[in-house]
């Protein structure tokens, strides 16, 4: 069956994120003074085949470890659901 996953790739805590700081500066310049900080990252939406939920989780784990995140600076986590359960707008 077919699965959808939103993989979030985040910088590890404590790693300098000049892009996030610049975005925060932009928000401050627009008057959004309540913004304390911004951390940048990546959102990757994957559509893939797997036999069941466990297999889909295992596949995602492998993909994140091998390619999608560099553990020196990043972590990855995801939201996984069956394509059948997805909102129509989420399916590519």
């Amino acid at each position: 069956m077919r699965w959808l996953a939103d993989v979030h790739v985040r910088l590890r805590p404590g790693i300098a994120d000049p892009e996030g700081q610049t975005i925060a500066g932009g928000l401050h310049a627009l008057g959004f003074d309540s913004v304390v900080s911004v951390r940048s990252g990546k959102l990757l939406r994957l559509t893939f085949e797997a036999d069941d939920h466990a297999a889909a989780e295992a596949a995602l784990d492998g993909m994140c470890r091998r390619l999608l995140a560099n553990p020196v600076m990043e972590t990855a986590d995801w939201e996984l659901r069956a394509e059948a359960d997805a909102e129509p707008g989420e399916i590519q």
Binding site: I15, P18, E19, K42, L67, N70, V72, M73
Partner: protein
């Protein structure tokens, strides 16, 4: 007379410094061959160059896709056997992603692409690319940099180990050789511009030695690094025997 060093220059889709290295081959006396990334063998060579550029468009992360190109299996084997490998700029990023060198190259701290001449302090001369005959520790050399993602980062424990082992070979410095935040063009941890692996046969550096190897382009300090290879090769018994 010794045979010319045989050097494989790896070309990924998006590599741009391969031509610089290939054009320089006659100056260096190298017998250089371009090797397309889809090849799974690099042939019988004395050294491998991973040039600068934007391999596979730098998508996802710099070097992230390139490290899985078929040629990288052969590069890994060559490096594991002690063969000299140099990765400049994008090549350094690929070597880090491939875990042939520790750490990672991140977005410059000021977020700008920086293309300029940069002075560097030679910290130690280890391995085939930093011959003591060409470069002494403490020497200040001048090489071009050209990158948007050159901020070297590794955990403190890794940095401590690199420094303790003398594997930080080049640091960003000012013209007098002083290392400072002002002389650091990208925010690299501890001003690191170049490191070697444990055996010192693999060198990664953000600057471009191949772009400072002829007077016409404004400097020749790059030659001092690149000429080190032939000096090193002539001292290797196995290689000397073959010659």
């Amino acid at each position: 007379m010794t045979a010319a060093p045989r050097v494989a220059v790896v070309v990924f889709p998006g590599t741009w410094s391969d031509r610089d290295f290939l054009d320089l081959a006659p100056v260096l006396g190298w017998q250089a061959t371009a090797v397309w990334h889809a090849e799974s063998v690099i042939g019988d060579v004395d050294a491998v160059v991973l040039p600068g550029g934007f391999a596979h468009g730098d998508h996802l992360r710099t070097g992230a896709i390139a490290r899985f190109s078929p040629v990288m299996g052969a590069v890994q084997e060559f490096a594991d056997a002690g063969g000299p490998v140099i990765g400049s700029c994008n090549g350094f990023q690929i070597l880090c992603e491939a875990q042939l060198l520790p750490g990672v190259l991140m977005r410059n701290d000021h977020l700008q692409f920086r293309c300029d001449w940069q002075t560097l302090r030679v910290e130690s001369h280890m391995g085939p690319w930093l011959s003591a005959d060409e470069l002494a520790a403490g020497d200040v050399i001048r090489l071009p940099i050209s990158h948007g993602e050159g901020r070297y980062y590794a955990e403190d424990a890794t940095l401590d180990r690199l420094e303790a082992d003398g594997r930080v070979v080049l640091r960003y410095a000012d013209a007098s050789g002083t290392v400072s935040a002002d002389a650091n063009p990208n925010g690299s941890s501890r001003s690191i511009a170049g490191i070697v692996n444990e055996r010192a046969n693999v060198l990664g550096l953000m600057p471009h030695p191949e772009r400072a190897s002829e007077d016409e382009v404004g400097g020749t300090d790059g030659l001092r690094l690149l000429r080190s290879l032939e000096r090193w090769l002539t001292r290797q018994p196995a290689v000397a025997e073959r010659r």
